[in-house]
Amino acid sequence: MIGHVGELASAYLDGETTPEESERLRRHLAECDDCRDEVADIHMARSALRAMPILEVPVELLESLDLVPNVVPLRKRPPMWIAAAAAALIMFVTFAAALTPDPVGVPLIQVSHEYQEQSSLGSAVVPNVGAVRAERIRE
């Protein structure tokens, strides 16, 4: 009985038990020290596993698969003139869209607003094209 209920511990912590099983486990734990200990042990192991560092894919592996040309440029900062031109363009389109409601301008306004929410520098900051693209790739 103890082993059976104890075996529910992992599934319970993972949200993989049925409502009936969860209820049965909770009722049992209220009166069983051994099973409470087992749940605590499982919880500790589970937490330790989930805290293991996530390793990055080695560059050599990406190179061997010809993925680097698509990945590396996105990690590099774009040349200053491109960043400046992009910033100017985005500011121009944002202001133009704000003055004349136009569906074409909506995505850029959204990007601009999202960036402002993440930034502590407020509305004076324009999106960094490289940063926005790199964020998407990382995901």
Partner: protein
């Protein structure tokens, strides 16, 4: 996760490459073997995508991954408990120095990795799929081709053995 439309290999490599590499690393405990395995998996995915029909993409992907690992073990006749390198943190590819708390977690992870490698393969695989990759029990069952109840049992027994070996 269910994919509605065919996806490109580059997209799979970018969105799942890190998960595949981490799965491979936690299963082998060795950065070189992990890189070889991840490469093998991604090449198999590239070939397999030509005949892939939309369905449970996660199940399909992880089935390929575990089959690649098992084939690799058979081919090299490697024991599943490959010895660890002396310093795991050299595999951390961060170009900037890691903060102390990150280094501490890596050292703790070293003990845990050794304990993982000591687990029977079936338990290690399910535990890694669940706790490292974040797959649901249904997805693990689909990938491993066993009933969900078996997945549940393997994860529980694996965690229990890990806890005992860490105490």
């Amino acid at each position: 996760m269910t994919e509605e439309a065919p996806i490109s290999w580059e997209e799979v490599a970018r969105t799942h490459g890190r998960k595949i590499y981490n799965f491979a690393y936690r299963l082998t405990g060795n950065p070189d073997d992990a890189a070889d395995l991840a490469q093998d998996v991604l090449l198999r995915v590239r070939r397999g995508l030509e005949s892939y029909t939309p369905g449970s993409f996660e199940g399909w992907l992880w089935r390929i991954t575990r089959n690649a690992f098992l084939d690799d073990v058979r081919r090299k006749k490697r024991r599943p408990t490959t010895p660890l390198p002396e310093h795991l943190d050299r595999t951390n590819l961060a170009s900037t120095p890691a903060p102390d708390d990150v280094l501490a977690s890596i050292r703790l992870g070293d003990d845990l990795q050794k304990a993982l490698l000591a687990l029977p393969f079936d338990f290690r695989e399910s535990v890694v799929m669940c706790d490292v990759i974040g797959l649901s029990y249904d997805e693990i069952a689909a990938a491993v081709s066993v009933p969900v109840g078996t997945v549940r049992s393997r994860i529980h027994r694996g965690r229990k053995m890990l806890r005992e070996s860490l105490s």
